[in-house]
Symmetry: D2
Subunit: 309 residues, 4 copies
């Protein structure tokens, strides 16, 4: 386990990488290489693989292992790699953490087991049991829309005292509680507080958060890196301009009719930008022509794509 | 794929078997044998392993494989064995179905992938993709509290037209909609309609359902078999007596403070009856002494245990 | 306060009467007369005015007063009249109960105040405060979809011990809990247990409930009276036939796209049957031509209307 | 109807005034005078009476009328007075607006009717019907936790085009959507965007909102006025200090166990500060001694009360 210093290890913009797929059983290798190159060129501070945006839970164990191997190999230490190990099964989460450590990843990210919702006390017990058996520092991940468990302030505080838990990613979209997390963790500045939703990146950093995991950074990493820097510097007028752009990019996520539109939108946009395949793991399926046209319009509005004359 | 006849293949009382565990990585073999003997002696019409009550999603793949092997071996064709193959990953569900078929199981049971909730149309597409690749007849499983997807009447109707889908288990606790399912499926009497919650077993059978998957049948199989028979015969006065007993047994599920109390209660009761271990897979943990005392009281009230004088 | 006997005062089919409106400020007097005649001819055992189906909360106090006066005058003691007095304000509920008593109504029906949701203990305190100040026997009304408060079994049990509370109407659609209510109230057979949703009328009576408040009885009172009788006699084959018809009538409620479709459907059907106006209180508006055609189709299917050749 | 200018009429800190009650039927007149004096001295930019914090929906019509008369009389034009007219009944909302206009109030505030939840299209129709019949400019009020209706961005945009609707108060706690509201209304700078939850006041103003309706401003108006000014000036370091204080004050709201703790906490604190009575309208009841002690501790921590030595 690495030593914690006063400065949190995980800060800045850490995109939740999509998993480029050639088909149901195989990675899109060239796509993965291009995607990692693309986001690193954009100045991001780390990568988070096999998260929600990475369709982690939808992939077979074999594919997850492969994704860990390839991503760590390609990144090759240039930025920290965080690996999602959330699983309904305790044993599988531990195995994934072992593989992540063996491949040279830097941390693991764990949301509560997502079939059975647990109470706060049960969740703490679970964390006390699993953390000592993991092979890397752990960031706890709050994703109530998927896990049906919403991590309370008191639970975070007590979890942060478990040796090995070094940070927290909050994707609850509850900004009032994010302020509570910040205030509760004030005495532990080495502990990383990261926000999921990119729409809240600016304010979370302004108020003391350490960065974010914005899905849109797969497509337009500079935008979120600029926003992170503007927020760190408290440059409100820059923030307001960037915020408008972030809300334009967000239109990519509303081209379909289901909750899955966010991931589909990102994969479709990356495909339109010739970065990687838009193949989706079941139960989802990539966008059709109609949505693709909408996606291209938004990319043009963002000046990420040139209109065809 | 077996031929469907006018009579549905899966009917009656099919307990969702708990998974007796010696520890985190191993089955409680003697316990499993005793448990299967216990429920078969009680006259049940089939077994459902690796469901919600079986803690299926919490088990490692290895343990699931072992549970399939052992259960089918012990049952040895005396009643049909249904195997839960619900998984967040498409590929893992298919592998489980292959193993179930290889071991001689009779059907698989599948709820929607439970990390990402899908829309009704997405779910149908998923079912159209996965069903032809499964190795056994499929019962669809509605469990919205865990999967965040509630299977609509129209979706069931269309799913029932997919070749290979032969039945449906509904654990939504929505009795109004169960009536709708019954009426919608009237033209397809070979299709099995089974209810999850044991409190609704009687009325679902009275109105045309084909049976149930009552968790309490792990403990007291005769009670549910009697209720099934009373309901089939429309014997209201017998039903009312049995219903009272079912609601006494149900107190076993309210000894703890979390949603997990149901499974904990069943495992604790089975342990108090010297049938099998009460070890729980993470994120849950077995009851302490206090709850154990409450469990014993209920078992005495049910005359399943003799009070110690 | 009337004396309670072993037989509950309020049993059988008690339609939640719609409020026929001429316009925003006035009752449709002839319509109200025809409607009451229609349901009484159908053999109902009481009337419930100013409930959810009666758009009670949407009406001005003046209109509510008028509706109480006219309904009690027209019914003139032929069946009991129950008056909804649910209001966000304590004082207004008491005034309504006074007026109901003055007009000769038989009971009042009260759901929890519906702006601020209260906890179970708060709700009990509220009931302890309001019940002694009401001027008629009280039926408690559980309608969590509107009030955001779901009345627990323990709360009902304790409420039933408050002098003046003589019955309970449950519109939660939670059939498992309705069984719990029945079992909890077994020792108090004079206390009326009535079910709201008409789809559950049969089973609730089969298992010991005393009747229901079916919205559809505005349109087709005989259907629900027949069902009540069949259920009381345990005549399963009659029940199954009637249940199918109830589910055909229910199609009247699905002609629009909002939660309000139920009341709109009933009012539109009554208008198509030349019984009363279909004017709706804000925020709702009566159906347009398209939905009207669907409504007529269902009425023809129910043989309540003759197809025009 | 007043003319709109480029500058929104309603901006800054507008406390949602509690309603000081002597008992169930009467205002605490001296308390109301002291309370209004207290908040005006604190520099607030307006008053909002009969809102959620004002227990508006729990009061009888008579009390509401009295509260409007007294508040406008005491304020006497020093700041704008906004009057909550939300009611389940269309007619009562209109009457309240008439009385508010007669008493010289400046605007009315209206949430969707709160018994029947309406769809977005239904809600717009309702707004089109009611707005022309109101006697004062209207601020729309989003309070989904109470009304079960969540006002969408598109609905707000279309509502803002209805003549007479001049502003919006959002108490949904959904900060992502508040950014969407801000961006959607960019072309209409005269339209007031106000935030309900005080924890989000700073960021909502930083990003372009016009002010807030903080419940805590009943107790400590200067704190919120300072925060509003700091946010307007983009003074991040001042914001961070004030935010900590706001989160200390917020502890006043967590002294009880129900949703109602917020209003109880405010009234109890005001009583501890000798400003007004803490009598609560049903279904709520004022805090007991135990909670009172906790309240006093927080007031001491905020230096609003001197510890007794």
């Amino acid at each position: 386990m690495r030593l914690q210093s006063l400065k949190q290890q995980f800060a800045g913009v850490i995109p939740p990488l999509v998993t480029p797929l050639a088909d149901e059983y195989n990675l899109d290798f060239p796509g993965l290489g291009k995607l990692i190159g693309h986001v690193l060129k954009g100045g991001v501070h780390g990568l988070f693989i096999l998260g929600t945006t990475g369709e982690g839970p939808s992939l077979s164990l074999k594919l997850k292992y492969k994704m860990i191997e390839e991503s760590t190999r390609i990144v090759s230490g240039r930025v920290p790699v965080l690996v999602g190990i959330t699983d309904a099964s305790f044993a599988e989460s531990i195995s994934l953490s072992k593989h992540a450590a063996d491949c040279g990843a830097d941390a693991v990210v764990l949301a509560p087991p997502y079939y059975f919702p647990s109470g706060q006390a049960e969740l703490l017990e679970y964390l006390e049991h699993i953390t000592p058996r993991l092979h890397l520092p752990l960031l706890l991940y709050n994703m109530p829309a998927m896990t049906k468990v919403d991590i309370g302030v008191e639970t975070l505080l007590r979890a942060s005292e478990i040796d090995g838990i070094v940070g927290f990613k909050d994707s609850s979209c509850n900004m009032i509680r994010f302020h509570e997390y910040i205030l509760a963790m004030k005495g532990n500045p080495a502990f990383s507080l990261l926000i999921g939703p990119e729409e809240l990146l600016a304010e979370s950093v302004l108020f003391g958060g350490h960065g974010g995991i914005p899905g849109g950074a797969n497509i337009f990493p500079e935008l979120y890196v600029d926003m992170y820097n503007a927020a760190k510097e408290g440059d409100i007028s820059a923030i307001l301009k960037l915020q408008e752009k972030i809300f334009i990019l967000r239109k990519l996520y509303s081209c379909g009719q289901y909750a899955s539109s966010l991931i589909k939108g990102i994969k479709c946009a990356l495909n339109c930008l010739d970065i990687c395949s838009d193949f989706m793991a079941e139960p989802f399926h990539s966008f059709g022509e109609e949505q693709r046209k909408e996606i291209i319009k938004v990319l043009i509005e963002l000046e990420l794509k040139t209109p065809i004359v």
